[in-house]
Amino acid sequence: MFISPARPLALTLCLSASLAALSVPARAADGEAIIQKGGANPAAMPCMSCHGADGKGMAAGGFPRLAGLPEAYIAKQLADFKAGRRENPLMQPIAQALDAAEAAAVAMAYAALPKVQVKAGPLERPKEGSGAWLALRGAWDRNIPECTLCHGPAGVGVGDAFPPLAGQSAEYIEAQLRAWRASPARLAGKKGKAVAAVPPTRRNDPNGLMQHIAADLSEAEIKAVSAYFAGLGETTEPLDASQHRLR
């Protein structure tokens, strides 16, 4: 979980509280208005207070980019938070406070913002053991396909079901991998005190496609692969769609 250091939580709570006080109830499901002023229920705080004025998120708080994510993916995540298939103390109450029409409208509004674009680079030759290696080659001895095989070349996302990893911060990517990974209980022994098992707090991946991958990554691999995608950056140059992306 990203809020383990207490500071960002306290900070966001007072930030959001002041913004929530300013907010006027939105009219019938206007996505733009929900982003800026929050939903009809004051518990549905303005999205931009955490997800940024441009919708590109805020790395320090672990707040993800929403701009340009697929509409169906955003709607699914809101439903998953609401149903508890994805647990998060900040996002769950917000998702619960949005009604169905509001959730649909805000998903549409964020999907309409610019999608993340990454420059098509030359053929990459990653070093074995690096974050780039996991991203581009995988770890097939553990049945881990290269991340880009599902998340698209340069992690720009594929269709509605496979969200972009490019454009997200390392903090957020790490938090999601840990949320899926969970950790088994450890008995007390030479290595230290007994540790209780932590069940996954994100259990919403279709057909378990993502969970087993996170569960089999080491802590060092999580850090390395997250840094790789966070480091891809973003380009504003228009992309030539006829250009092949090489593996």
Binding site: K127, E128, W140, N143, L149, N207, A241, L246, R247
Partner: protein, 284 residues
């Protein structure tokens, strides 16, 4: 799938199924290149499959450059050798993990088995001819000449990967380790259910796969951009072997043999290119 399409498919399925079964047996002489590989021995309990050399072991000289070029071609066939590829496929789509994964017809298990004598046509087939077969059928394209740069690079890549494998000794993990035919036969309607639950998310309701810009990400399973009638993957048992071991992506060996056969039959019951007529192949 729209309801009309669903109804249409339902009406066509018996017809298509008959065609798919016919493809189980070679239809013409050219099919010989894609005849089924002999069954590989099982992996002895507790023993690992052969471990091909690591990428870092590719030497930094002219030979190493050729090996790397072979790997690039293997992964980006459509983009780097478009004159020989008539669909939206790359070699790596069926030979997973850059041709390294056991039970995905890995190159390390293949290279040392050629030249191979085939009783059936009384002919000795070379490794290059085997790859030419995949270009013609799996890639629905035109085979590069035996002495072409493309086949020289792909051969170097396979040769490098098989370093340490004894010549002529069949390795466990070769081919696709086809599961035996299910007792009660296979069922295309059941296969459709498996497909909708486990495969459509990536390969699409229409089997056309999914692209990002010009680049195919999830390869097509049927339709004009997929493998053709003469391809090895068009045999239901071979597709069942590939699917059982390698699909859904990253979750191989979770489907039962029955499910793998059913869904393989469903996939191969759809329209796809016929063999490209010799000499008449054209690049789209």
């Amino acid at each position: 799938m729209t309801t009309t399409l669903r109804r249409l498919t339902a009406a066509l399925l018996p017809l298509l199924a008959a065609h798919a079964m016919a493809a189980d047996s070679p239809r013409n002489a050219r099919l010989d290149d894609q005849t089924q590989l002999p069954k590989a021995p099982a992996r002895p309990a507790g023993k690992a499959y052969f471990q091909p050399p690591a990428e870092a072991d590719i030497p930094n000289n002219a030979y190493g450059d050729l090996v790397r070029r072979g790997q690039d071609l293997f992964m980006n066939t459509r983009a780097l050798a478009p004159e020989y590829v008539g669909n939206e496929m790359n070699c790596v789509n069926c030979h997973i993990d850059r041709g390294r994964k056991a039970n995905s017809a890995p190159l390390w298990a293949a290279y040392t088995m050629y030249p191979a004598f085939r009783k059936k046509n009384n002919k000795v087939n070379t490794f290059v001819e085997r790859m030419q077969g995949c270009f013609q059928f799996s890639m629905n394209g035109k085979a590069p000449a035996a002495d072409s740069e493309v086949l020289a690079a792909l051969t170097a890549y396979a040769y490098w990967m098989s370093g340490g494998v004894p010549i002529g000794k069949v390795q466990p993990g070769r081919g696709f380790d086809e599961p035996p035919p299910p007792r009660g036969g296979y069922d295309i309607a059941r296969g459709q259910q498996v497909y909708e639950k486990q495969c459509a998310l990536c390969h699409g309701d229409d089997g056309a796969g999914r692209k990002v810009g010009a680049t195919s990400v999830f390869p097509p399973l049927w339709g004009k951009d997929s493998y053709n009638w003469g391809a090895g993957m068009h045999r239901i048992n071979t597709a069942a072997g590939f699917i059982q071991h390698n699909m859904p992506l990253g979750r191989g060996e979770t489907l039962s043999d029955q499910e793998a056969w059913d869904v393989a039959a469903y996939i191969n019951a759809h329209e796809r290119p016929q063999d490209p007529p010799p000499g008449q192949w054209r690049h789209r």
